[in-house]
Symmetry: C2
Subunit: 415 residues, 2 copies
């Protein structure tokens, strides 16, 4: 049974929407009819202004302005400018975040840089269940730098940090379980042992407040196509704490990272601050989309976002408990809201087929092998009614056996 304070009917969920201070923000997104979109933790929805802005950029800035737009349309400083906007969402100073490349490439840069800052130490410490790219990139860096990558279980991370550890590289919110680390605590313990920290904020940025500087974080990376709604394959960001500026040296020394790229001199001289994190020519169309998309956060209080996120995820768990008890689902996400991000992950041995059936019903989450059904709750555009209706659809699919249709077992390239 749900507690008295919890809404128990669809009408009560509708009332929560009426009282939601963020409810108007859904209008900032172009969501399709008949879809409940619970996969914003994989690809954020389309902010309304993006299409018109990009048409203008293509037709006026590229088509008419041509090469002149590098100066005249603000293209050149876009990595810093858009980075500054992201900085405001993750508790960093504007000059500590820059938009560049992909999360994986930025992670590569900062891991090499971290090992260079700790020449006497050769260990990268990570989590075994971290997102694969974090694991793969750390392994690749270890091989390249004659270091080692050690991956432990989440509960063993703190104890594993020692004086051999050069850098602790973790994802704040786990992609599979939604479990969230205590960023400040891990950072404190790492730094007490003389290690540096890198936080992957892919499932954090835009989903909750994130006080990078309050937690004295050294490095962070993250993508912009999930909760920041920057579009498929949008450029990523990298954070370097100001205290490290001037000392960090990343290995992919491209011309846009040079102090004076348009002097075309022979010797590399790293750009100031974190400008040297840039490598090649910045993906301008991607930056333009991202900058426009970030307007969805204008005037948004990230504490309200977090409050709604906790409520959405908590109610989803409650409804699953209450109405899906007979169908063999497990819960992979912590029940304690303080320990989770903005997603809920259920487990089920037939998870793939169930998720395909759910998607066919218009409730879009995703599947992560071997048995995880992921549901992301993006507070700017997911409503309380969406929570109710999603669970109702899932219940329907299970009780009717609709998920057993053969077409739902055919694996697609991208899950």
């Amino acid at each position: 049974m749900m507690q008295d304070s919890s809404p128990g009917t669809r009408a009560e969920f509708a009332r929560l929407d009426e009282q939601d201070p963020l409810r108007g923000h859904r209008e900032r997104f172009a969501l399709p009819e008949g879809v409940i979109y619970l996969d914003g933790n994989s690809l954020g929805a389309l902010p309304r202004g993006v299409s018109a802005r990009l048409t203008q950029a293509i037709e006026r800035e590229w088509g008419v302005g041509l090469i002149r737009s590098w100066n005249d349309a603000g293209w050149y400083p876009a990595p810093q400018r858009v980075g500054g906007r992201i900085a405001s969402l993750i508790g960093a100073r504007p000059d500590e975040v820059i938009v560049a490349d992909s999360t994986s490439i930025n992670l590569f840069k900062v891991l090499v840089a971290a090992l260079r800052l700790r020449p006497g130490r050769r260990r990268i410490l990570g989590e075994r269940g971290n997102f694969p790219t974090d694991v793969y990139v750390a392994s690749g860096v270890a091989e390249l730098m004659d270091a080692e990558f050690v991956a432990v279980e989440p509960d063993d991370v703190l104890a594993a940090i020692d004086e051999q550890t050069a850098v602790v590289s973790l994802t704040h919110v786990n992609y599979k379980t939604g479990r969230r680390y205590d960023m400040a605590e891990v950072t404190r313990r790492a730094q007490a042992k003389g290690a540096l920290v890198v936080w992957d904020l892919c499932h954090t940025a835009g989903a909750m407040p994130c006080g990078l500087n309050d937690a004295h974080v050294d490095f962070a990376v993250g993508c912009s196509y999930k909760y920041l709604n920057g579009g498929p394959g949008a450029p990523a960001f990298v954070f370097v704490a100001q205290k490290h500026h001037g000392q960090v040296r990343q290995p992919i020394t491209g011309w846009h990272g040079h102090a004076r790229p348009f002097d075309f001199v022979h010797d590399y001289e790293p750009g100031q601050g974190l400008d040297h994190m840039l490598v090649g020519t910045a993906p301008q169309l991607g930056l333009i989309v991202l900058e426009e998309a970030l307007k969805a956060f204008d005037g948004v209080d990230m504490n309200q976002v977090r409050h709604k996120s906790e409520r959405l995820t908590g109610l989803f768990i409650e409804l699953v408990d209450r109405t899906l008890g007979d169908f063999g689902f497990g819960l992979a996400t912590p029940r304690d809201a303080a320990q989770r991000g903005s997603q809920v992950s259920l487990t089920h041995p037939e998870g793939y087929a169930i998720m395909q059936a759910l998607i066919a019903r218009g409730v879009i989450g995703d599947f992560r092998a071997p048995d995880i059904l992921r549901f992301g709750f993006t507070p700017l555009y997911v409503s309380y009614l969406d929570v109710w209706d999603a669970v109702a659809a899932l219940r329907d699919i299970m009780s009717s056996g609709a998920w057993q249709a053969p077409e739902y077992r055919q694996r697609k390239a991208v899950t």
Copy 2:
């Protein structure tokens, strides 16, 4: 004096346009009125279909399809598919080219991979006047890999290749002078000494035929925003000869380079062929723009493109010789068409101001420090009349002294 066979009047240049088999292709681009665009070697012009295609991709594929478009809209295989299209323009097999990241990052990957393929050798040989990012990246790789980067003058490259050389890394057509290497000859000489070659095709792809496999090239990289017209900061490409597939190991081991990214397994296993050159999530919007832009090459004979390119650049040089002799210009580009790319570079001590004045007149080239005025001739949309009118405008600016106006001396961020 010009030779009898050369056109000597504006009417004769107009006649060349009438006879040009590529003249109709100009209609494939949205060029602004009143502009002669001679900077397609820096940022290619906008192909007409791009804007509508991108609007559809944004509104339908992202906005409505959302995460489903990774499967349903062909997003996932786009790096390979678009790479295959580029392959056809540079003399490679479809499975030897993939679109990923930036030129600089791809160069980083292949240089590390090349050093790994030649463990007994520690030298990267390059050209002193190469584009800065090629020099900077090679220097960065050398530092990282305990190797050395040796940069020599173009005429000394062949003699400098020896048994210590792991890889020769050159740009086919020099960004500043337009001078072109004999790709087959350099490749042959390098391989005869047991070295590998990497060719940077930034000023080659889309500008001329390029027989990578005919020349037995090992690796190549290049951008898609110059002669391929992929838009500002478009994703780059990387070529790996089939003979090296299965042996090449690049260091930025991201999840999209994994053999089975959506299995989310712990250990990295490189993707087949050159799929492992992928790192993070591919920049889909950039890929969509590029794929549409490449349609401008549908049905185009690259030999015709080269023929016209030689004629445009040759006539530009002739007109400069004939009409600008008194104004102190030098020619940095080889007079022998076989030794140059698709650009002409003039030198002048006041080059910056002169170019600004020219741009203000609607003739757009660019400037490269310290004294180079660059003019790129993209045969798909530059006409013979453009050549005549551009030189006439330059003559006007010089004879009137218009370039001496103070506003033309103010340096912009991007030259």
